[in-house]
Symmetry: D2
Subunit: 337 residues, 4 copies
């Protein structure tokens, strides 16, 4: 049994974390905190947790939280996490950070997030928490940089061919579509129901801050420079991401070989599923689960890869719990059925 | 040709007004205003109006607006309208006010809206702008109190039997469901897509401020005291209201007679349609139109009336244009096809 | 460990059953069947079950199914269940039937479903599977009539006052709203996305076949005749039901007493949650869970009760698993976290 | 005043045509037909047309229809149109065909639609009804092949650079997303609300039958061979298409020049609107209108073009009415405000 704290429990990812951890057979939630006007039982703030999670959600007091837990999940906005992560680490607590603060080299981070990095000390030791890439390092880490939602869907779809595309000089075109919870729980006109429903919106085309994250991780994995073109869209659904990825067939293996390769890479992965050749996954196949489903089709000289995840689970809180499982020696699927 | 101004053009009802007036063969929009950070062409603020409505949306300057128009639509929050309506009237401009400020006697208004009424002078002469009830008075009025969205759907459904229910002492039960644009364009967590989508929410049960509006109008129409029980719900759709109304059959006429009565009352109305006995309308039948569709079914000893409107059209801006048509001697359907 | 079979696995409730049973720590799915063109692994028919449920979904062969399981879930259309339930019972298998076939006395069934009942023999011993009402009888039963979705939401909301409303002669008005999966997975124009999205539709007003189920169960529970007026609506959401229930305050206890009463009745129930006075639940509070949330408000002389469930879980498959848990002596919440 | 007939009036495009034509100041609907079980007033089949379009929708009788109209709209499935178009043309009636039957050379048609073309005689004279490309030819044509919905969104977005991409040997990548009415009004499980809502689905990737239509038209326009990669997705919205188009910047003009070029080409077009550099349109900007909005952004070395239309209007029925206006010498915007 592990004692866990969720800091930032009132956002969409925080809430989802609480849900996963509550169902987890080996975890006990001992602390919930967030910036709140009035401290109150979590089940009072979110009645869906009545008869489930009744402990009080308090304003953050690092000492108090550290005293009652073994591991801390930070579901905070970027730039905020790096203020608190060091404090928990110094008290010997393992930290899984869901923000972007520990995912990138400081120079890249500062360029794309427009702020100084304030915890370069721990940044160098942080492990990028994509189990399919870094399982061994995750096991022994004190600080996990939990991947971004878009990057998870794209990196898993490109990892097996990262070397090939680097060698062939291919910069994949990634057309992603995400549900609205990906933007967080916010009072904002562009996120209002009347603006999102029955709409589709393309934003930050080829200049979204998740693009350098994809490039950084794929470059490391391939041992060279990988570039992607990344264009996200806002979908009128609550949860789910689809990334449709385009690459010229030239330079890549033929379809059957590709499928074999992907199956080889992911066969033993508990949360990645490869479809038979030509069959493409849809968002409802993974909504509410921690799976990433990937389909590959070669047609008209193009390789088309479709990757889907639930942005709140494999794209955030589910993956964080998967990381906790690895760090704690639990069954990797615990709490994530 | 009439010159019209829209004050409060950037909300959902303001935008809808601009759309109707732009299509109107006899109206010319000469002024758009709202509380804006930066004055700009309306088509720049709302690109859906490019190549359609290019005039600049400015911060409100009463003199300037009055100089260029014959009639003013106030699409403002309640308590704000009553500050500006008198100024336009004093300058000889006709006013159609879409807020609640001129719909109720001041005592009732003050009780339900929690503020002092600041323009009792004009309140007494304001005409409640429900054409099916007050067409003659609307024609000659300087100040129209455009009805609320829920009240429009409910009053039209009950007008023909208002006398009967008063006499029988029946307080109808009104279960209403409204699309999210009814709450206005606002930065607010409860109106965020992630909170409204795939949800249904009951709010202000039997204490919504539209309830006294229904009771006041139905009481006047029936020559006595009418009470209703009104419970609204927030639907995950952009536009449309359905009111399902329940009354005991005792005290009312049998189904066939009721349908005959409703047909008699509404046959010549351009925007009310009565269904054959037992057939009930759905929201898509009226979405995007100025119609109110009403169906009546008697079953299990109950009279069940279902009434649907588009909350932004017959429930707000369409009805406002219908009132303008009546006041100006235009074809009542102009701009509302 | 119990071996279970799902007959009718390819509908929405069948699929949801498979999901719950797969997560269940004490159940093993040993057989899946349905009317299929081509027998195939379930994970091939529904890729969301890949790496989860790979057994083949076959056309029904009663002997074969009975040989491999201890308990059978029938997720079949009404009139079909009563053909197969007797066969499984005769082979000593316990049956949980999700259709309407064993919920009503044969005379009522025949009147409302328009067909002869073909298994009166077992009908008399069937137990209505609402744990909050019949837990003890469920424990020892061979045949469970799993309640309808609308009736579950309404009966749980009215059980504590069933005696009071019978005595006071109150026939509650029940305005229900259901997500589209409640109608099953069907090729049908009225259920097409283009007809349901952005719409709301009232159907079978006061003559839906779930009404006699509510009346029958509430009458038995209150020791007399209870009548309800039941009007369902089709919501543009995938899952969830809200029932808004109206009763005159006269004849019922005051609000505080009512809340106390409901808390007394349901305090120890694992899947019913009562809100504090005046607070009403919304569908997202229970979507994806087996909970029924109930709120009570007294206003304007009316008692208004709002009850919400997930139609596929507490309204069907979740409740079926809850019944299995009771029949098998498992923790009642197993598989339903 | 022109007398018009709609054949196939009961599908989504048929219904939308009736709506546009009803609003049209110069058109009179004299005949509606479709494959119907029972002939009935259109307003009875679709109550949203009550007090608007009351004429009877009959089973098709070519002679009868031809006797009462000057122009015929065929809103029929492909392969069916080519059976009827010749009959109307032989009777001297102008035909606007919304199917794919007259859009492609017969060899291409037969390859992609898998059937023999049965009216090659008229095929050679048919004019592809994209006003922005063929206005002069449309004016004098007897038979219009109304463009497909996806092709309209893509061809308008690429026309100004068709020559450049041909010369540079660029095959644009087109990632399109369409609302569910694009698939027609059908009883089909994949189109059921429970399958489409909260989902996103990629289908017929790089092998959709609209791809050769795009290539054919762009090739003709550029005087050479143009190839595109086209991948459509099904969106959980009722109406609207977005096409996100990717091309390498090399070989194309810089951003400012491109915007100037697009503005030059489309400035006088009543229904195409170009956004300022870097600003991209969203679906709600055009839903319910006949506009095509196009935005261009150059970033990371890519030219990204986003084009949006309403699939039922500019993508089908609105464009058909625009063609009628051109053929009849009406204001091109008549009926399409």
């Amino acid at each position: 049994m592990i004692k866990v704290a969720v800091v930032g429990a009132t956002g969409y990812t925080g809430e989802e974390l609480v849900d996963c951890l509550h169902k987890h057979p080996e975890a006990e939630i001992t602390s919930l905190s967030a910036l709140v006007d009035k401290e109150a039982p979590f089940s009072e703030m979110f009645p869906r947790f009545r008869k489930k999670v009744d402990i009080t959600c308090e304003n953050l007091d690092v000492d108090k939280v550290a005293n009652v837990c073994d591991m801390v999940f930070l579901a905070l906005p970027h730039t905020v996490s790096m203020k608190f992560a060091p404090k928990f680490i110094e008290k010997g607590k393992k930290v899984i950070d869901l923000s972007a603060d520990y995912r990138l080299p400081s120079t890249v981070y500062e360029e794309w997030y427009g702020v100084k990095h304030m915890d370069k000390e721990h940044l160098v030791d942080a492990v990028y928490g994509l189990p399919e890439l870094n399982r061994a390092a995750i096991k022994d880490s004190m600080l996990i940089a939990n991947p971004g939602c878009y990057p998870t869907s794209v990196i898993l779809a490109l990892l097996p061919v990262a070397g090939m595309i680097r060698e062939a000089g291919i910069a994949p075109i990634v057309d992603s579509k995400s549900g609205a919870t990906g933007a967080g729980r916010k009072a904002s006109i562009p996120l209002a129901f009347g603006e999102v429903d029955e709409n589709l919106k393309c934003y930050k085309a080829n200049e979204h801050q998740h693009m350098p994250e994809m490039e950084h991780v794929l470059s490391l994995a391939s041992g060279g420079d990988v570039k992607v073109n990344f264009v996200p869209h806002l979908l009128p659904i609550r949860r789910g991401i689809m990334s449709t990825i385009y690459m010229p067939g030239k330079g890549l293996s033929p379809a059957k070989k590709l499928i074999e390769l992907y199956n080889d890479v992911y066969d033993n992965e508990p949360f990645v599923r490869i479809r038979p050749e030509g069959e493409l996954p849809q968002i409802l196949d993974v909504a509410g689960t921690n799976f990433c489903d990937i389909g590959i089709k070669v047609a008209g000289g193009m390789v088309i890869i479709v990757s889907v995840i639930d942005n709140l689970l494999k794209g955030a809180s589910g993956q964080a719990v998967q990381n906790m499982n690895i760090m704690s020696g639990f069954n990797e699927k615990a709490g994530l059925l």
